[in-house]
């Protein structure tokens, strides 16, 4: 067995642990009737686990890295990644603020609800 086999094996084990941790966190939360862990913490934690797992698989399964032969692959990946950030975060940002551009009365109602102010 050579080094590449161990890179695939460690990729499998690390990914299984990271995915298991994400499912366990949410499972504990749901089973406790949403009492254990706050939503912001959980969303941050599982997104972080997903990014780490994607990094693990890019490195250990797809062998993406700084070595000379894969440098252009990495360059294309980084530019794609920035496009994805713009598309996803940009969409969420715009669509979540779209409600602030309604007619004045609607904006008023929306903001009262959104900021937890009740008349």
């Amino acid at each position: 067995m050579n080094a590449k086999f161990y890179s695939y094996l460690s990729g499998l084990l690390a990914s299984a642990v990271l995915a298991g941790a994400a499912f366990a966190l949410i499972g504990v939360h749901v089973r406790s009737h949403h009492l254990v862990f706050g939503h912001e913490f959980l969303i941050g934690a599982i997104l972080l686990l997903a990014v780490v797992q994607a990094g693990v698989q890019l490195r250990l399964f797809l062998h993406l890295g700084l070595n000379k032969s894969a440098r252009w692959n990495l360059a294309v990946f980084i530019s794609t990644f920035s496009l994805i950030l713009i598309v996803v975060l940009g969409s969420l940002w715009i669509m979540n603020h779209l409600n602030y551009n309604m007619t004045p009365q609607q904006v008023n109602d929306y903001m009262m609800r959104s900021e937890n102010m009740f008349r």
Binding site: K4, F5, Y8, L9, G11, L12, S15, A16, A19, G20, A22, F23, I26, G27, H29, V30, H34, H39, L42, I43, I46, L47, L49, A50, Q53, A54, Q57, L58, F61, L62, S69, W72, N73, V76, F77, T80, L83, I84, V87, V88, G90, S91, L92, M95
Partner: protein, 195 residues
Amino acid sequence: MNEALPAIGFQRQERVAFGFWVYLMTDLISFAALFAAFSVLRGSTFGGPDGADLFNLPFVFAETMLLLVSSFTCGLAVLAAEQNKQPRALIWLAVTFLLGGGFLALELNEFSRLVAEGNGPQRSAFLSAFFALVGTHGLHIAVGLLWMAVVALVIWRRGLSSKNFSNLLRLGLFWHFLDIVWIFIFTIVYLMGVL
């Protein structure tokens, strides 16, 4: 094999692999658009069920593990082919095919259950976005399985020529790529869906 050719053949193979990598990255952008649409529409259930009503986490965990292990065995198939061990490469490809087929069967089972319960893509914007995103991934898996069957058949009949090997290498890239997309599907669609 001709002594003068391998270096050129290798360079060509690398160029082809790079071109395929660029295709994968553009495919990733189309997935990003579907993820953006899903994230925007996830709350628009039109009075219908949301993720917490519909998703079954142990079921999704089983799908996740099937696809993860299939990504691993696909790597082992490429590794065996690199070492010119044809029977072993074919066995690992067969294992990968079964695991990937199991994943697709589970996903189709989930889809048909949702549609049978009246929660198909026309139920709400949330479910339209759900079926578009997860269905596109499933379609990629189905195409990958078809490709895998063809690659395995060609390697079985004609051996591990450098052309067949380079085909297998691209299939490996494609399959690992689909598992990486799935990480974000189970995190953003399913895990964040039941919160």
